[in-house]
Symmetry: C2
Subunit: 192 residues, 2 copies
């Protein structure tokens, strides 16, 4: 039960419920689950290009000849790759940092998979790096630090636009977001 | 009690609770509340410039000589004026539409206080109109319709930036917001 409790999002109550279920279920069920976990663990590895999880040597996206290799979108976690892919707005490749700067939790630059990113940039062919870390304090700090790290490379550095989210009501947004949206306002199909 | 139920956010239970309170409380309390409501209703009116609520002829912002009169931020409701003011990012004046296009609820262009806005633009001196309606379907439709309406005037039309809200995690954002943020990405203090 203490192993179950170490899973993310599993509290003591839920761990107890899971443990009881596993004890009551037929032994074969526990066996199947254990085998599936062991197999996944053995088969899934980091893509040799972008470090996203994959079963092969390179992931589905990195081996797709249709993707634009000159564009690299840098994200914190594999789930962020999925989020950008769902938006169908990006045709380049990714780089997964597998972390973020979080000094208060003891995560310094060594927690980020940046050597692999620098190696890609040294390899040439990349013209733009999009720093798509989260928009909270630690994500912003990570983006700033990355911008500094990547300055020597001849690539354009960009960051996701900040502003009002779709469906957003002015009245419910925090001051910083409104401030950001006012300052970054854009021209809108009008006269002159 | 049926009058109480017509207030926004007051359901049958809450109306009953309020009605019982008013019956049990000393008569003077009910009198004070009634008088306050009547007085507020009599004293508060629409600012003759921006239509925001005010007690004088023009509101505090419109009578402030320090505000930039060439910039007009068009919002749906008086609460939106407060939201933009809290952000301390805007030094111009406002125009309150007191509504939005909502065809499904029978609110067409006649529901919007646009004649007053057009009169302001005809008066001259305005160089930029920021369409700061909400970022949901009806707010976007209102902005589009306004852009069309204001096309004949020699002013720059802008719209609040859309993108990731501050503190936003990529993983929790909807696809359209991520798509918008990727497309509108901006240069970020980097090399070349």
């Amino acid at each position: 039960m203490s192993s179950l409790r170490r899973l993310p999002g599993i509290g003591p109550k839920q761990a107890e419920r899971l443990a009881l279920h596993l004890l009551r279920a037929p032994a074969s069920e526990t066996e199947t689950l254990g085998a599936a976990m062991r197999e996944a663990r053995a088969r899934v590895r980091a893509c040799s290009v972008c470090l996203d999880y994959t079963e092969g040597d390179t992931c589905r996206l990195c081996s797709d000849p249709g993707r634009d290799r000159s564009l690299v979108c840098v994200v914190e976690q594999p789930t962020d790759v999925a989020a950008v892919e769902r938006s169908r707005s990006f045709g380049g490749l990714y780089h997964v940092l597998h972390g973020r700067l979080a000094p208060l939790h003891g995560a310094g630059p060594e927690a980020l998979r940046t050597p692999e990113l620098e190696a890609r940039l040294k390899g040439g062919g990349v013209t733009e790096v999009i720093l798509a870390t989260d928009s909270d304090t630690e994500g912003e700090a990570t983006a700033l630090w990355l911008a500094e790290l990547l300055k020597p490379y001849p690539v354009r550095l960009t960051r996701l636009a900040q502003g009002v989210p779709l469906g957003g009501h002015l009245d419910y947004l925090d001051e910083q977001t409104v401030s950001c949206a006012v300052k970054a306002r854009r021209d809108y199909g009008g006269g002159r």
